[in-house]
């Protein structure tokens, strides 16, 4: 059930009415039932994966908590315990907890790998066998159905297990409450990747019907619909044609560059629009989900972009991959070695250059099983690590060229530069294969045709005069709103303060725009979300 479908809106209306009718202590239980009903709609077999992950996560959390409680009891039973004995006890407890933690995370990863990556691995093994003279397709593919949202809920489950292992908070005693955290229906489709100590608590709190939450939530949902239906789904067919294999020889590099820009707009509106709907739905129930986007295309560097795009995945990676690697003993040893040989500065840069490669390759693979995603990760890592390593060089260059790095012009230049660098990485995501992606990138720099619009008309995938105007105006509106937000204007609060007639006129205007200009498929259902497949 897509978040933009008519069925979902009906489902949401029923859940909302019931949510505020039932006694408040039953609200979270209703959400759990609704979440599993929503999930069952996507397939019965898939529920077993979600249930399995939930049970393993719950059991693991309880085991770690029990072990930690035993340690505390031992300490309080013997207040005058010698320091050495105390330290030995602490070490033993940490080791036991660590074992449970590692085992659970490995199990989570194995399930994710088998479901999501086994066919990719089998295909590559088959290619090697074939290259060595063996038969074609020596190993049969498993063709497993990837359960809805598995990449999202598995990461949330792993975050929970690691947090309990670190003693950040106590394990949840009620398995149903943990089940709700992992299955909450608006966010299971494409995130955000929430944390238990934040969202887990909010989900089980009691919520009163609040006018502000309902209207602000509804505004966010409408804005999400606008981004997804009016912009993303309108531009989608153009992007698909430009990056299709059959069109590659026919189109110029300039058209492909235009396709790259369109795809940047499409994927942002598709993903952030979906997240707006998710956050809006949750807000209507009084639950605040974490931000996942903060106008990423206004970033002045790729590193900053990754702090503003898919924020919760970036935060997850920082917390559970980046810091642990950077602060690990092997990395400290390496730093010390480099420091002895090449000095303090080099020692600082070596881990900062190595770690992005691990983090970004993981981010790439998280998106899917394909060499294109590995290349996408590598590309981002090279840019981020390169900018860290070359920072002093860039600083000196700016000084020598007398560039005022505080000026607005320089900032705009950096924003455009970052956007274009990221555009290239998006080709790696969109193209049919890694080979096609590389060929497309080369073509952009070698084949020019300023009248690229005529190419689109010639091959029949131009949107037409009216659609082009709608798209242009919609993107302009998105840009203006984003620019206002970038300058600190809180749009929903500002609209909320307007005179009631003006306020409602604005709501109706946006609703009419969505209804009239939204792109709808068969039975008025919109296309599914791109990130739903990750």
């Amino acid at each position: 059930m897509a978040l933009t479908s008519f069925n979902f809106l009906c489902f949401l209306a029923v859940v909302l009415v019931l949510y505020y009718i039932v006694p408040k202590r039953f609200q979270w239980m209703l959400l759990l039932v609704a979440s599993y009903a929503f999930y069952l709609y996507s397939g019965v077999a898939q529920v077993f994966f979600l249930l399995g992950t939930t049970l393993v996560t719950y059991g693991s959390g309880m085991l770690m908590q029990k072990r930690r409680n035993r340690y505390k009891a031992e300490l309080s039973a013997e207040p005058s315990m010698e320091k050495e004995k105390k330290q030995a006890l602490k070490k033993k407890t940490a080791a036991d907890i660590h074992k449970i933690q590692v085992l659970t995370v490995v199990l989570d990863l194995v399930v994710l790998a088998v479901v999501k990556y086994s066919d990719f691995a089998i295909k590559n093994i088959n290619d090697v066998i074939k290259a060595l003279g063996g038969s074609k397709d020596a190993l049969p593919g498993l063709n497993l159905i990837v359960p809805l949202g598995i990449s999202f809920y598995t990461f949330m489950a792993m975050g929970y297990v690691i947090d309990i292992g670190r003693g950040k908070y106590e394990a949840e005693k009620n398995p149903a409450k943990l089940a709700l955290f992992l299955s909450f229906f608006p966010s299971i489709v494409q995130g955000p990747i929430s944390r238990f100590d934040d969202v887990g608590k909010k989900l089980v709190e009691q919520h009163k019907l609040n006018y502000e939450n309902i209207t602000y939530g509804a505004q966010l949902i409408m804005w999400g619909f606008f981004k997804k239906l009016v912009i993303a789904d309108r531009v989608a067919p153009v992007v698909s044609e430009i990056f299709s294999v059959k069109m590659f020889d026919k189109l110029s590099g300039t058209t492909m560059f235009f396709g790259m820009l369109c795809y940047a707009v499409q994927i942002y509106c598709d993903f952030s629009g979906g997240i707006d709907i998710t956050r809006g739905v949750a807000q209507m129930m009084g639950i605040e989900l974490p931000l996942n986007f903060e106008r990423p295309y206004f970033s002045t560097s790729v590193a900053e972009y990754w702090r503003r795009w898919h924020i919760t995945l970036g935060a997850w990676m920082r917390e559970y991959v980046f810091y642990p690697i950077m602060l690990s003993k092997p990395m400290s040893k390496l730093s010390k070695k480099v420091k002895d040989k090449h000095g303090q500065k080099a020692a600082k840069y070596v881990p900062s250059v190595i770690t992005p490669f691990i983090v970004f390759i993981l981010i790439g693979i998280w998106h899917g099983a394909n060499w294109r995603y590995v290349a996408f990760g590598l590309y981002n890592a090279v840019i981020v690590a390169g900018s860290v390593a070359l920072e002093p060089v860039f600083k000196k260059m700016a000084e020598k060229l007398h560039i005022n790095t505080e000026s607005k012009g320089w900032k705009v230049f950096k924003i455009v530069r970052t956007f274009l660098i990221l555009g290239i990485s998006k080709i790696l995501v969109k193209a049919a294969s890694l080979k096609m992606a590389l060929k497309t990138i080369v073509k952009i720099f070698t084949s020019f045709n300023l009248a690229f619009g005529s190419e689109m008309v010639k091959y029949g995938f131009d949107l037409g005069y009216k659609n082009n105007i709608v798209l242009g105006l919609a993107v302009l509106l998105l840009f203006i709103i984003s620019l206002l937000q970038e300058n600190g204007v809180k749009i929903r609060e500002s609209v909320g303060k307007k005179f009631i007639v003006v306020r409602w006129l604005l709501y109706f205007l946006l609703l009419i725009i969505i209804l009239v200009f939204g792109i709808y498929g068969p039975e008025y259902d919109a296309a599914s979300f791109i990130y739903q497949t990750y």
Binding site: Y323, P324, M326, L327, S332, S352
Partner: protein, 77 residues
Amino acid sequence: MLDRIIEILQGIRDDIDYYSEDSLIDDGLLDSFDIVGLVSELKDEFDIDIIIDDLTPANFNSAESICALVKKLQDED
């Protein structure tokens, strides 16, 4: 100790007034690379062991909170 910590911080980024700034992390003034650099220098300078659990915004939002963290870790040793 506070002065030495501010010296280290200035070595990482010299355009921040560390005496008054109290949202180094919340306002994104220091990024994760800066934090890792800072942690390794603090480890060497004060002979302490900083672990991931210590990497909370509250511990790194100001020079004073960093100083308090270092003192706490020294006491634990």
